[in-house]
Amino acid sequence: MAKSTIRARARLKGGTTTIKALITHPMETGQRKDKKTGKLIPAHFIQEVTCQHKGKTIVLAQWGPAISKNPYLSYQFTGAAAGDTVSISWVDNKGNKDSTSTKIK
């Protein structure tokens, strides 16, 4: 199994599940110039992040170039039980995607 760009942790405490995720992605704004060539580095950033639990989309985030490199995402929701699976996936402006799933502890 290839390594995912998303590292995720899901913890249940007092009825609330907290998901923390760290995504590896350059998140290039498209405004930076290459120091050596002087040319603009093309934009390459995540546009959409989806978080799902039991087939339902709990979080739909529309990101842009303002989100920094290797973004950290954290969200909380209720109504889940320990052992449930949550999944996180992203799509970027070049059409690349990745996803991961983790169990709630």
């Binding site: 590292r7 942790r9 923390k20 760290l22 120091k35 950290y72």
Partner: protein, 292 residues
């Protein structure tokens, strides 16, 4: 009367002298710990392995949050891959897994202290690896990653440095102890000045960690080293950036007091590591760990 008093005084001093002269490593260890237990009441022995995070709540909170996605995670994975790639397990007891608590040790054959890094390097050379070509240098990078992996497999094991009943071993210990308490550099500081006398105080923007427990979490991921390496590269951070061995830090500390640093894995630093780690016997290993 005066003569009697003088002779009594001389006798009592001479009577005490043998007591003072019989400081053993064990008594040194107890005295060292007693100082910290008195200075920081309530902090448990095992928590000293966490250094400044045992002393400061705010920094501890930040550290515990960062442990969710530890910056050294990828470095340990790289270290494991390299360990397997070079076939290092045949050089070590238990295949090199969970053995770091026994380091440093005194090698009776050579009469010198051996650190884990020394043994790793010896193993690489034994395997015929071209360490220059592979860029395997003592203090950082890929070499430190191998050490970090081995430290990671030893987490939870209690520090167990042995000083055998050998004059040379005791001499190495004493040399390390002397180094620790000796003032050096233009700023005229000893290791003890900062980490014993001033433990818990600030030096510039950093909080000084207590000397007790300071060896348990090496190799360490230092945020300063990570920042420095990334800056050199023009801002891009890479997985091995913050990693460094204990002796890399010794060099840095010496430079900071404007003393000429010794070479990594030199006898002076290895004896120092021997003394320092012995002081932490019984404290669980928790490397690699994030520090400032």
């Amino acid at each position: 009367m005066k003569k009697i008093l003088i002779t009594l005084g001389a006798i009592s001093i001479m009577g005490l002298a043998p007591l003072l002269a019989t400081a053993t490593p064990q008594s040194d260890l107890e005295e060292y710990r007693a100082y910290y237990f008195k200075k920081f009441p309530g902090i448990q022995l095992q928590d000293y392995g966490n250094g400044l995070y045992a002393l400061d709540k705010a920094r501890r909170f930040e550290w515990e949050a960062s442990e969710e996605f530890p910056p050294y995670e990828e470095a340990v994975e790289i270290g494991e891959k390299l360990f397997k790639k070079y076939g290092l397990k045949t050089c070590f007891k238990k295949g090199g897994v969970g053995i770091k608590q026994n380091y440093p040790y005194f090698d009776k054959k050579t009469g010198k202290v051996r650190t884990l890094e020394k043994d790793i390097m010896a193993c690489l050379k034994k395997k015929g690896i071209d360490t220059k070509k592979e860029k395997l240098k003592y203090k950082k990078g890929k070499f430190a990653a191998i050490s970090a992996y081995m430290a990671y497999t030893s987490r939870g094991n209690k520090t167990n440095v042995v000083i055998p009943n050998d004059k040379r071993a005791l001499a190495a210990y004493e040399a390390g102890k002397k180094f620790y308490y000796a003032k050096r550099g233009q700023l005229n500081f000893s290791c003890a000045n900062c980490h014993v006398d001033s433990a818990g105080l600030m030096v510039r923007g950093n909080l000084l960690g207590p000397g007790l427990g300071q060896t348990t979490h090496w190799p360490a991921w230092r945020k300063k080293w990570a920042k420095k390496s990334a800056k050199k590269r023009g801002g891009e951070s890479k997985p091995l950036d913050g990693l460094g061995t204990l002796q890399r830090r010794y060099g840095g500390c010496n430079k900071q007091v404007r003393a000429k640093p010794l070479k990594a894995q030199s006898e002076g630093y290895s004896n120092l590591e021997y003394f320092q780690t012995y002081m932490n016997n019984g404290i669980k290993l928790n490397g690699p760990a994030v520090r400032q």
